[in-house]
């Protein structure tokens, strides 16, 4: 904290911040105060404008209107340089690191002393050692960032901010990529920083984290700041209501599963990526008709690869049987078209980059992946009239708004885009549905609808493989839960007989109670994973 600031002035005060991206109004007339030496939470749904607001504070975007006060002084922040000078550091949701630079080079970038590198590097090496000791932020300064796990990359980002002597630290959804143990460790670090008088802004949409660590919390909805409350004086239910604008019901109504025959069997599935790193290291699992198998795990532990292999767009070795018949895993017959022909439907993790062609109209998208279906052809050409009529019907059944099939996919909101994908895949009445992150970036209303559709399909006797990084979602939908870590299934549990703590340990690769501090055990596991991956880089 700057010594000149009046003791009672807020560390940060925003007044009337507005920001539009073309037609999208991301921030509307936002005002906010953050007191020094506190942890201030910001919560809101996807797309609410949290990242935008913080990026404005950090000088990454320029606000259309509004003022910023730092420690009571009006401050212009035209670029990040100004923000850094004002003592602000930010850890972005998507890390801003140079992948093929070492940790040290990343840390000094933009904060070098003088024109030559050698002295800067030497100095940074010393400072880094000190910071690492002080805040338990150890990373090898000479490793290239691309060889670090996400958790360690995040440490580099925090070190970058501390190296620049930031008094105000903004963290944008820092726990999304961490195992529960790593998240706990991060929160301890934040506690230490607060104790030293630093101010921290923490963006998250996990109510549990807000309640655990913040002093005050601001809620954003659709670009507006709807409330700021003291954490001690609020409850998760109240925050959820503020976030969404109405009472929410987070439970999914479902009857117990009636599992039938094995529909999907996977044995010893292995995948080596193009860098030579083994991403799937012998996966065994099975899904029966009429059940939902949930796969939990921190992003980047092979779940995506598993879906890609089953969906037919990554090659692997091992055995996959569908209704008892083995599927080729490479070469002819292993592509997505063949998988669809066998009754496998796939709602991919990333609807914008995989599930949809954003410039295509909604009706074109409803045929995507099934466009070679002979029923959609008329001679040599595609039967566009039929596809269009079919699309209108599907959009109606899935309540896609606006119900206009000629609109480009990019013009639908995230939730409606997801409904288009679901409509396409579920209406085909597949035997197996692969679903990745079905409700990422979707508002609560749509979440309810999507969960209902998935359960409905299960009740119709279909096998469903669900991958999600949201433990809540896994718990509320799954009939059985498998946990993945580093390309392996660490264990399969019955949701009724397990809890978040047990799953959290499995997600960090820890199967039995460690005899040393938890974070060290987690670190050891992650280091082993990093070393394995770097060995091929």
């Amino acid at each position: 904290m700057s010594p000149h600031s009046p003791a009672d002035a807020p560390a940060i005060e925003l007044k009337g911040i507005s920001k539009a991206f073309g037609p999208v109004q991301a921030n509307k007339d936002i005002s906010m105060r953050v007191m020094p030496g506190t942890i201030h939470g910001i919560i809101g749904e996807n797309g609410a404008g949290k990242s935008t607001l913080m990026s404005i504070l950090y000088g990454f975007y320029k606000a259309d209107a509004g003022e910023v006060f730092i420690s009571g002084k009006k401050t212009e922040i035209p670029d990040s340089q100004a923000a850094i000078r004002a003592g602000i550091g930010m850890v972005f949701q998507h890390f801003k690191l140079v992948q093929n630079f070492t940790v040290l080079e990343n840390v000094i970038l933009g904060a070098e002393d003088g024109g030559l590198l050698r002295p800067s590097l030497a100095k940074a090496r010393g400072v880094l050692k000190q910071l690492a000791a002080e805040y338990e932020l150890s990373v090898d300064p000479d490793t290239q960032v691309q060889h670090l796990s996400v958790g360690h990359q995040q440490r580099v980002e925090i070190l970058k901010a501390l190296y620049r002597e930031a008094d105000i630290l903004i963290l944008d959804e820092p726990t999304g990529v961490l195992t529960p143990a790593e998240a706990d460790h991060l929160f301890r670090i934040l506690d230490n920083l607060r104790a030293e008088g630093k101010t921290i802004i923490l963006i998250t949409h996990k109510l549990r984290e807000i309640m655990e660590i913040t002093d005050t919390v601001s809620v954003m909805r659709r670009g507006e700041m709807t409330a700021t409350v003291k954490t001690a004086e609020t409850s998760p239910e109240q925050l959820a209501e503020l976030m969404v604008g109405r009472k929410v019901l987070l439970r999914v109504d479902k009857t117990p599963a009636k599992p039938g025959a094995k529909v999907l069997e996977v044995e010893n599935l292995r995948l080596v990526d193009d860098k030579g790193v083994e991403r799937l290291r012998g996966i065994d699992l099975e899904v029966r008709a009429g059940e939902i198998l949930g796969i939990a795990g921190v992003a980047g532990n092979g779940q995506s690869e598993l879906l890609e292999v089953l969906g037919g767009y990554a090659t692997a070795t091992g055995t996959v049987r569908v209704n008892g018949a083995a599927m080729p895993l490479s070469g002819p017959g292993s592509d997505g078209q063949s998988r669809r022909a066998c009754g496998i439907a796939h709602v991919p993790e990333d609807r914008q980059h995989e599930g949809l062609i954003m410039p295509y109209t909604a009706w074109e998208n409803t045929a995507f992946g099934y466009h070679r279906d002979p029923a959609l052809q008329k001679g040599l050409l595609m039967d566009n009239a039929a596809i269009r009529a079919d699309a209108a019907a599907k959009m109606d059944r899935f309540d896609v708004r606006p119900p206009d099939p000629t609109l480009a996919a990019r013009n639908f909101s995230g939730g409606n885009q997801q409904k288009i994908v679901l409509a396409r895949e579920i209406e085909r009445n597949p035997d197996i549905l692969l679903v990745g992150q079905p409700t990422r970036g979707v508002d609560i209303g749509a979440i309810e609808f999507i969960h209902q559709q998935i359960v409905r399909l299960r009740d119709a006797g279909k096998a469903i493989l669900l991958v999600s990084v949201e433990l809540d979602e896994i718990f509320s939908l799954s009939d059985r839960i498998a946990v993945m870590f580093d390309g392996r299934i660490m264990g399969v549990r019955d949701p009724a007989e397990t809890d978040q703590t047990e799953l959290g340990l499995l997600m960090a690769g820890i199967t039995e109670k460690p005899d040393r501090p938890l974070i060290d055990a987690v670190d050891a596991k992650l280091d082993a994973k990093e070393a394995r991956e770097a060995g091929h880089g």
Binding site: P23, Y313, E354, Y360, H371, L381, M382, A408
Partner: protein
Amino acid sequence: MDRMPNWADAVLVPLISLLLAAILSAGVILAIGESPVDAFSLMVEGALMRSAGWGYTLYYATNFIFTGLAVSVAFHARLFNIGGEGQAMLGGLGVALVCLYIPWPHWSLAIVAGAVGAALFGALWALVPAYLQAKRGSHIVITTIMFNFIAAALLNYVLVNLLRPVGAMDPATARFPDAVHLPTFQDMFSTAATPLFRGAPANVSFFLALLACGLVWLLIWRTRLGYEIRAFGHSDSAARYAGISPVRITVVTMLISGGLAGMMAVNTTMGEAERLVMNATEGAGFIGIAVALMGRNHPIGVLLAAILFGFLYQGGAELALWTNIPRELIVVIQALVILFTGALDNMVRMPLERAFLAGRKRRA
């Protein structure tokens, strides 16, 4: 909600860009001490006011339609095919072999075979860059540039050492037999009383080019393959998800693109020179880039842009004939058109978007 209506993006932006290019070109003409107005009227006079002028304009346009379609088909798959030049050179070789070594009874058969030969050779020349892009991730822009130079060396070798008739001076093949002479516009439209298109090189290949426009339109917007090409172009990750093989799309698209570029040779080699000469392509492969850009990768746009460039070419030739303005002026105009419609189009688009957005806000 988009920032700007589609029509504005498709029509208004290129038109304004073109206008800017035209203004700068006029400035250039002024700077070399000539009158832009006179120059322009001379160009119009020579290119559009006489049937023979049209005969040249459409002859050049035919080349540009083929190379423009070639670039735009590839562009739908987000492949930037700079190799039209080399593919067209090889297309010429295909045409020459078909015409020289097979005795054709009638031109109508020969043109079909010539087109197939040209397309085949052009496609083959695109195959290696396509394969390398698809399988090994080699940047297709660089490989196609390299293949242009390799094509020039190869053609040089073939013409000088293999196909040049004994005792001939210039590196060119022998003349094709008369049987493969393609009817020119003069042959088709002149009557004894009214000679039309006299001496102009435009020939039936122009209709082949129109046909190609139609087929490309069908291909891109009405077939499964076109659906997949566009999908792949918009998002290769989504294409992978949908089971569209990137290797297959890349290779097939480039084969089509190379084939189209190669077919340009039917016009130049069979239709005009009636023998294969060294520099038959004369940069048309590169003009194809400008044509595709201006035509917004739509066959109708490509057709119109090709005619515009045909006009520039013929008008430029007329300028060189009757004034002291070097023909390089046309190269400069070309450069400006590519610069403004291609590289600087955001300079026009950004303020337009802002204007449309502001207009919408006011109405709302």
